[in-house]
């Protein structure tokens, strides 16, 4: 029991909080240099492939997912425990302090950091009443005592401090709620096609543990057109300049509403956000088999592999007879062939071309097994070759048709753009936002409110009324304490100060202002 108490005392001490903050800062560093799986899984697998030994150790230490790792969670949870353990007792202390009148007037006011004294012509009650009025006008809380007034202001400082710290608990709550109840899905939609908000439609979907599929609002988005423009000038050539998707959204049974989605302007439908997070090209390809039947026709999504949208994709024609046909290759929006081979040199479709090879094999039995639309299962396929035995490879510009050795044809009639939409709902985010605002407000109070205590004692002696005022700052960065003390003495009727009060006032030194009026 004793060690538990010791542990708790240690955990909630300011020194521990300080060390934990340090560790948190250090712990956050590796994630900014080591590729992170949740951010970029491809870079992680590349890293492991390049450094197998190191990669294994990184994996064991959780360095590929620092911010989701147990040790990172341990640091911030300890910090939170320390925060709660530190702040909760302070709430009780504060609650008592707020209800307690200012502390009693000390016996020796002249020992305070600032004091002033003098003689007043007013009577004792009048002087005290005047001093109290002056203090109240300056929002001091006062306590009338026998021959003295005690005053304090700046209670909001500790209030702000508590609010600031508690808002982090609220923030964690908001984020946890959001993690549990939110969902985020991504879907690629080719221009002219539509997307219905339904689990089966998503290419990628992640949701929290508390997610229920009925949370998906049943709307449909028709992507009518997508406009992309890029810098064509010499500076930043190829940089994105505008992305805009013209869409119509419709609730079931309702008339579609036209709107646009841009990069900083997500669409909000029914509490669901629809962001435009990517785009690419979909060449329109028609494969006609040797019998003259169209085996497949339509836009095919190719995935960009570099900043100039050299895009990789496959076209499958499972219905082609006598053989199953599949095409594999590149769509290059601005095609150039040089020593690097074919590649794109500009992200816009200025000189679009297709570079394809052909795979063929026996027709496959239709199974319901899922199959990637971005790669070919080449198990029983062979690359088609010419009569001379060279692999069939061809290059097509829009509108061109190529005849394959087996008698089938491939037509590249046109290209379209596709957009990647992210559909997300984040129900807990408002709470996180509110807690941040509270944190900033609390921080402001705790940093800028400067608590101060002032006292004034008035005593009749030998027919004269003597006034002594003194003051104490409860923060080490306040200024103007001397001014306040002198003004308080004057408010009590002192016309001439007995002595110039000495005051330790750093403000005076810094800002060239004497602390004494």
């Amino acid at each position: 029991m004793e060690w538990l108490r010791w542990f708790w005392t240690q955990l909630t001490s300011m020194r521990t909080a300080l060390i934990l903050l340090f560790i948190l800062a250090l712990a956050a560093i590796p994630g900014s240099f080591v590729p992170q799986r949740p951010v970029n899984p491809i870079r992680v697998s590349d890293f492991i492939a390049d450094n197998p030994g190191l990669g294994e150790w990184y994996e064991r230490l959780g360095l590929f997912d620092v911010y989701g790792s147990p040790w990172f969670a341990a640091v911030y949870l300890l910090l939170y425990a320390s925060l709660v353990g530190c702040i909760v007792p302070r709430i009780a202390v504060y609650a008592r302090a707020v209800r307690t009148p200012p502390p009693h007037t000390p016996a020796r006011l002249d020992r305070l950091p600032a004091h002033a004294e003098g003689v007043t012509t007013a009577s004792e009650p009048d002087a005290l009443a005047a001093a109290e009025q002056w203090l109240r006008a300056r929002r001091f809380r006062t306590r009338r005592e026998e021959g003295a007034v005690a005053a304090e202001r700046g209670y909001l400082r500790e209030f702000g401090n508590i609010v600031f710290h508690l808002s982090f608990v609220l923030l964690l709550g908001g984020l946890a709620w959001n993690t549990l109840a939110s969902y985020r899905g991504e879907v690629i939609v080719v221009e002219g096609q539509a997307f219905s908000n339904n689990l089966t439609q998503y290419d990628d979907f992640r949701a929290g543990a508390a997610f229920n599929p009925t949370q998906l609002r049943p709307f449909t988005i028709f992507v009518d057109a997508f406009t992309a423009s890029f810098e064509t000038g010499p500076v930043q050539r190829g940089a994105a300049r505008e992305f805009r998707a013209d869409v119509r959204t419709a609730d079931p049974g309702a008339e579609p509403q036209a709107s646009t989605i841009e990069v900083n302007h997500p669409l909000r439908v029914d509490g669901t956000n629809v962001h435009l997070i990517g785009h690419g090209y979909a060449p329109v390809i028609t494969i006609t088999d040797p019998q003259g039947n169209v085996a497949t026709s339509g836009p095919v999504v190719f995935l960009p592999q570099d900043g100039n949208f050299s895009s990789l994709g496959v076209v499958k024609a499972p219905d082609a007879r006598p053989e199953y046909l599949a095409l594999e290759g590149w769509f290059l929006p601005t095609a150039v062939v040089d020593e690097q081979g074919p590649h794109s040199v500009f992200p816009d479709a200025l000189v679009p071309e297709l570079f394809l090879t052909v795979w063929a094999g026996p027709p496959r039995e239709e199974t319901s097994a899922p199959e990637s639309v971005y790669s070919i299962n080449k198990d029983d396929l062979a690359q088609m070759t010419t009569a001379e035995g060279a692999p069939v490879a061809f290059r097509l510009a829009p509108g061109q048709i190529v005849d394959l050795p087996d008698g089938s044809t491939v037509e590249f009639s046109d290209w379209q753009r596709w957009v990647k939409l992210q559909v997300s709902s984040e129900p807990g985010l408002w709470l996180a936002a509110v807690s941040i605002l509270l944190a900033i407000a609390g921080l402001g109070l705790s940093l800028y409110v400067r608590p101060r205590r002032l006292w004034v004692r008035v005593a009749d002696a030998d027919g004269t009324t003597r006034v002594v005022a003194g003051g104490l700052d409860r923060t080490d960065t306040a200024q103007g304490l001397g001014d306040d003390v002198v003004a308080l003495a004057r408010a009590a009727g002192v016309a001439e100060l007995a002595e110039t009060p000495a005051v330790t006032d750093t403000g005076a030194e810094l800002f060239g202002k004497q602390g004494v009026g």
């Binding site: 900014s32 911010y67 000038g233 500076v235 300049r241 750093t506 403000g507 060239g512």
Partner: protein, 316 residues
């Protein structure tokens, strides 16, 4: 327009360099003057309260000629900084005109704007509050920063990528620039505190160090700047998160820039806690402030140049 902006920026760099030289001569002259006794400071402090502080005789009487020379070069330094600030301002404004937007779209533009704010704050503090002792370190910062900007960070004017087309572009970046300027000034104050504190503890307060306020006053000044900058930095991160939610569809994604801005935040949070912790007050807290500005600079320079992330714009 762009070339005028560039000319103004380079000119301001040269003028800041000259201002730094003037301040260096100022302090070198002060150094050759005999080390004064400790209480001189109080007199210097009250001297600064004169109606015209820039002409105020902030020099305590020593030998007849030295203070005159010290003061003269100090005033030359301030005047040069002011001229540098004007050309700097022209450079930033013309950059915005040339780009037809707020000039905060890349590293070059952010650096020049932040330094402009730092220079303006310094001049305000020096002329209105008599804090001329900031002259040498601030002009050093301005010279190095502006030099880096015009040589290493420079990129030609270009429009913004769609991700930056947002009202949060203004809110997030101006908050970051003000907080950044304040962090830099705060670090300068903390470094001066460390210098002064060391001299006071060794009982050797002379030359430049003698003209600094007391270690305690410097500590208070550093705390005030950080107390201003920290809430603003909190807001910068929050505004960035809101913007990220609009632009990228998530409010926080552990992008390297986001991670490092959080690290900076945590270090400054530690600084504020340290000031209230026995054994951490004073020197250790000041070192934390220096560490804080180091993380800020690393986030700005290191992360932009070493790591690719979502905050990589315009190739730099």
């Amino acid at each position: 327009m762009e070339s005028w902006s560039n000319l103004a920026m380079v000119t301001s760099w040269v003028i800041y360099l000259l201002a730094m030289c003037a301040h260096a001569v100022e302090w070198a002259s002060a150094r050759s003057a005999a080390p004064a006794a400790e209480p001189v400071l109080v007199a210097a402090g009250s001297g600064r309260a004169a109606p015209e502080p820039e002409h105020g005789a902030s020099e305590p009487a020593r030998s007849p000629s030295e203070p005159v020379r010290v003061d003269l070069f100090g005033r030359i330094g301030l005047a040069l900084t002011f001229i540098g600030l004007l050309t700097h301002l022209i450079g930033v404004v013309l950059r915005g005109v040339a780009a037809d937007r707020f000039p905060w779209g890349n590293m070059y533009e952010f650096t020049t704007t932040t330094l402009l704010l730092a220079a303006a704050t310094h001049l305000l503090l020096a002329t209105r509050f008599g804090m001329r002792w900031l002259g040498l370190p601030v002009t050093l910062l301005l010279t190095v920063g502006q030099g880096l900007a015009v040589t290493v960070f420079y990129v030609a004017v270009a429009p913004l990528v769609p991700a930056l087309h947002s009202v949060w572009f203004i809110v997030h970046i101006i908050a970051a620039a003000i907080a950044g300027a304040a962090f830099n000034l705060g670090a300068i104050a903390s470094i001066l505190y460390l210098v002064r504190d060391r001299a006071e503890r060794r009982g050797r307060v002379g030359g430049y160090v003698d003209k600094l306020p007391s270690a305690r006053a410097l500590d208070v000044f550093a705390h005030r700047i950080h107390a201003f900058a920290f809430p603003l930095w909190t807001f910068t991160i929050a505004a960035g998160a809101v913007w990220a939610d609009y632009a990228w569809g998530r409010f926080w994604g552990w992008d390297p820039k986001e991670t490092w801005s959080l690290i900076t935040w945590v270090v400054y949070a530690a600084y504020l806690h340290a000031r209230a912790t026995a054994g951490w007050k004073g020197r250790r807290a000041a070192w934390l402030a220096v560490l804080g500005v180091a993380t800020f600079w690393f986030n700005f320079v290191g992360i932009n140049l070493l790591v690719t992330g979502l905050h990589s714009y315009a190739g730099i």
